[in-house]
């Protein structure tokens, strides 16, 4: 089961680019992605095409696939390894009028136990001599949740998203971006397969499992600030900070710094460091004292207290300089992200023969690889 709605929003974000007074560029991107870490491999393509017409409109479409093969720590300790596929399609249209831009988008995501539809609407306007771009947005998502092997289980999720963005030219070398976003969820929010564990001295390992149970509502707020600065030798540095809080008592901070450096002969290199840390949800525990200990129960490591770091290296090469037929420009791009996760209250249950609750804390590394070609026409 995936967080399809969130990715729907991200896919729609990919369709919403550019400043209010200028339509996005005509371009086509074909990307192959690969994630490998924690016993999970995910691969697939993503194709994004955008084209202007009638000088006031720009349409876009995205096809995305996740092919998942999972033997994650959750799976190997409570279930059996599995494979599945998720397919997502997004379409969008932008309309430009003077300094206003309006966009409408739709995303559908399908997998064998989860279906998600997301509608999105946004407005943006350039103002103050085009130094400032303000954008407002709203999205509505409806998900259908099912469970393999259980024809009697079916539930729904409704989500709404409100976003406010500001892009500001501060100096001739410095850009500022500010974003706020509120997301509300209502419905079946936990994973229908995942289980929590509780102390059970009647078993050899000292614990047993029961289904997790989440609240049926969640509201989250996030705010971020980004800066990007142009250096005298034609390079750019950027920094970003994001603060997050929600009604499940999770709070999180994210910092990121990066450097982009183009050189002669058409190469551009980039490096980035990202640091993330969060506190646990108030109903999370690695080991509950007994069965049905409280109304809400979670042992999802994404809801635990943990920190992660990501190191990125990337390179881009211009393959069509000066144009070729109808293609104005083209690039080949390679990006590698190395991610490191360290959990503070999620234990590695693959280690047996120890007292329940004293297993070593879990950690894992992951490598994320992207290779894509882009053409502007």
């Amino acid at each position: 089961m995936k967080r399809s709605f969130i990715f729907g929003l991200l896919a729609l974000a990919a369709l919403r680019v550019g400043h209010a007074g200028v339509l996005p560029e005509d371009r086509a991107d074909v990307l192959l992605h690969s994630y490998d870490g924690g016993g999970v491999t995910i691969e697939g393509p993503s194709v994004l095409i955008r084209k202007q017409f009638a000088q006031k409109f720009s349409v876009s479409a995205n096809h995305y696939v996740d092919k998942v093969s999972s033997a994650s720590i959750d799976v190997v300790t409570t279930a059996s390894p599995y494979s599945e596929e998720r397919t997502q399609h997004s379409v969008g249209i932008d309309y430009l009028h003077d300094r206003w831009m309006m966009n409408v988008g739709f995303t559908n995501s399908e997998e064998n136990d989860y279906s998600a539809d997301t509608f999105s609407f946004g407005l943006s306007q350039d103002m103050f001599g085009d130094l400032t771009t303000v954008s407002l947005g709203y999205s509505l998502g409806n998900d259908m949740v099912s469970r393999r092997g259980d024809a009697n289980f079916s539930d729904e999720v409704e989500r709404q998203q409100y976003r406010l963005g500001l892009s500001q030219i501060l100096t001739k070398n410095l850009l500022l971006g500010v974003s706020f976003e509120t997301i509300t969820d209502e419905g079946f929010l936990n994973n229908p397969y995942r289980q929590v564990r509780y102390v059970d001295t009647t078993t050899p390992q000292g614990y047993s499992y029961e289904r997790e149970m989440y609240p049926r509502t969640r509201t989250s707020d996030a705010g971020s600030v980004r800066l990007r600065y142009y250096l005298p030798w034609r390079a750019a540095v950027h920094a970003e900070y994001r603060r997050y809080g929600d009604t499940w008592d999770i709070s999180a901070d994210m910092f990121e710094i990066g450097y982009t450096h183009p050189i002669e002969l058409g190469w551009t290199f980039e490096g980035k460091l990202r640091s993330y840390a969060q506190t646990k949800a108030d109903f999370y525990s690695d080991l509950f004292p007994r069965a049905q200990f409280q109304n809400f129960l979670a042992r999802d490591k994404e809801l635990s207290t943990f920190a992660s770091q990501t190191l990125r290296l990337g390179a881009s090469y211009d393959i069509v300089r000066g144009g070729w037929k109808f293609v104005e420009r083209g690039t080949v791009n390679v990006i590698l992200d190395h991610m490191m996760f360290d959990y503070e209250d999620f234990r590695d249950l693959r280690v047996t023969g120890v007292v329940a609750g004293s297993e070593p804390l879990y950690s894992f590394d992951a490598n994320v690889f992207q290779v894509f070609v882009s053409f502007w026409f």
Binding site: K2, R3, I6, F7, L10, A11, A13, A14, D29, H33, S34, G38, V40, I42, E43, G44, L48, D66, D74, Q125, M127, F128, G129, L131, L164, S167, I169, T171, K172, N173, L175, G177, S179, F180, T182, Y193, R194, T219, S220, D221, A222, S224, Y230, R234, A236, R242, Y244, G245, D246, W248, I250, A252, M254, Y276, Q278, A281, E302, T310, N333, V368
Partner: protein
Amino acid sequence: MTAKTTSSAVRCAIAAAALCALAGCSVEPWVKPYERDHLADPIMSFDRDPVSGSYTGHVHEAREGARGATGAAGGGCGCN
């Protein structure tokens, strides 16, 4: 930052931005159009390659409790 107080802040910010836009605010730009060549360089884009940004955002969102306010971002899951 609590969810409730931030929600109020977001609503106020949205209202302020909408009012400002409707009022047709205008000021003399302190960075002239002809001084924006550095800002127009592709390396200054917050999201130079949307297909990659969307995927990268998804990779993080699927493995973290936090969500939202990514500007534009991006994938691969394996939440189980």
